[in-house]
């Protein structure tokens, strides 16, 4: 096996520099790469283009990048939980490409899978379709969307082995597996890093071939956005 272990988040993100395009896993605050985010905040890299379904909240996740004005452009599907984001967007300080969530997921999968373009019905007849090719298949209209890759993909998994194989937990899986395939360099942080041979090959969510660096993260806060409970 090819071993991918690095020491920690700082080492993992050491070569991410100003102007980089990053994919960051997570849905809301669930399954986000907390350690990589902290390391990047410390580095204060700037002019980042970030592909992430959401933009965090004002004081956690990608929201912290926005506070420090580290982001040039966001490619996301929903950014409703972040006031600072909305302010920077409406004032024109931040460039934003809003993409339907399924299209975003599929564009990332396509990018990782060597598929340069595909057709989807999402967005036909809306401003999302502007400037895009529309084509009819079997009597229904579709628009062409392109595959998406990034310089780095930062993903967060539950368990991982030193060969880069990953297993996610619950709905913290979300965008992480596709993003892992679409980074030129994919960095995985995991709650538990285990030796090669400890994971069931039949239960791997992301095969190690997609992961270039892996480390065990620490002090996961896993902040909850909407704590809803039954009495």
């Amino acid at each position: 096996m090819i071993l991918k272990t690095v020491k920690n988040a700082e080492e993992a993100v050491a070569d991410i520099s100003n102007g980089a395009m990053l994919m960051m896993g997570g849905f809301g605050l669930s399954g986000i790469p907390e350690n990589c985010i902290a390391a990047l905040l410390k580095k204060e890299v700037r002019d980042l283009t970030i592909v992430s379904n959401n933009a965090g909240v004002d004081d956690f996740g990608i929201g912290l990048f926005l506070q420090k004005r580290m982001v040039k452009k966001m490619i996301s599907s929903y950014v409703g939980e972040n006031d600072e984001f909305e302010r920077q967007l409406l004032s024109g300080e931040l460039e934003v490409e809003l993409v339907p969530q399924g299209t975003l997921a599929e564009r990332i999968r396509a990018g990782g899978a060597g598929i340069p373009a595909f057709f989807t019905p999402a967005g036909v007849g809306t401003e999302v379709a502007e400037g895009k090719e529309i084509r009819e298949f079997n009597g229904k209209l579709y628009l062409m969307e392109t595959g998406l890759t990034a310089d780095f993909a930062l993903v967060k998994a539950w368990k991982g082995d030193t060969a880069g194989n990953l297993i996610f937990k619950g709905t913290a899986r979300n965008f992480n597996p596709m993003m892992a395939t679409a980074g030129k360099i994919t960095i995985a942080e995991v709650e538990e890093l285990v030796p090669v041979g400890s994971l069931d090959p039949n239960a791997i969510h992301t095969p190690g071939i997609y992961v270039q660096r892996i480390f065990q993260g620490e002090k996961y806060e896993k902040r909850i956005e909407q704590r809803t409970v039954t009495a």
Binding site: G28, P100, G102, F175, M178
Partner: protein
């Protein structure tokens, strides 16, 4: 006028045995509470879960288990977890039978707008554009009028669209309506105590009234 709970309760009557259903944020989420227990249905959450259960007990809260509204949830026996690409493969591929979602505006041709108010509010479309472009049956849950009294059932939408010619049925605080394939809101039911005249006056789009319009009843 129906309460939010009553809108959810009324929509729950549209649910059929054996359906896989995606519930949007807000009133649609409440629908889950009113689906009759003799119907076997499965709720899908587009962030990657089939088999959403009730909100968890405090002790069972798991930050790694949320719905698309970022609320903590539980899983029912027989659940399956998957990634976002697989989730929208299900949606886009027509495997999810019913989508229930909110709207800011619906047009008499079934167009829907629910994601953007230019210059004012930009939250993003999330999964709504994929859902409305794909589901076989789409029901909108919303107030009949906006807070400043403007009808949300229009000849054409004024806000940026989420999807075109996709909405099949609408349940508001005043009425149940369905979209006529030739255009127009067909009035099916009135909320208790609401007259046809009132619905007519609050519907800016073409309202189609055929025969007597029954009043909804709730136990």
């Amino acid at each position: 006028m129906l309460t939010k709970e009553q809108i959810a309760k009324r929509i729950a009557r549209e649910v059929e045995h054996g359906q896989y259903i995606n519930l949007g944020i807000g009133i649609p989420t409440l629908v889950a509470n009113y689906i009759p227990s003799h119907l076997d249905v499965v709720l899908q959450s587009e962030n990657g879960l089939l088999g959403i259960g009730p909100f968890p007990k405090e002790a069972d809260v798991d930050p790694d288990l949320i719905n698309a509204g970022k609320q903590t949830i539980s899983m029912l026996p027989g659940s399956a977890i998957f990634d976002s690409a697989q989730s929208f493969a299900m949606i886009r591929g027509g495997h999810v039978h019913l989508t229930i979602l909110g709207a800011m505006e619906v047009s008499e041709h079934g167009d829907i707008a629910n994601w953007k108010i230019p210059g004012k509010m930009v939250k993003g479309m999330g999964g709504a554009m994929d859902l409305v472009a794909s589901a076989k049956h789409i029901i909108v849950a919303m107030q009949h009028c906006s807070k400043d009294g403007q009808s949300k059932l229009l000849p054409t939408c004024s806000l940026p669209l989420t999807g075109i010619r996709c909405v099949k049925k609408i349940v508001t605080d005043l009425a149940v309506l369905e979209i006529d394939p030739a255009g127009g809101f067909v009035l099916l039911e009135r909320a208790p105590g609401i007259t046809v005249e009132e619905i007519k006056s609050k519907t800016a789009g073409k309202l189609i009234i055929k025969g007597e319009i029954p009043e909804m009843t709730f136990d």
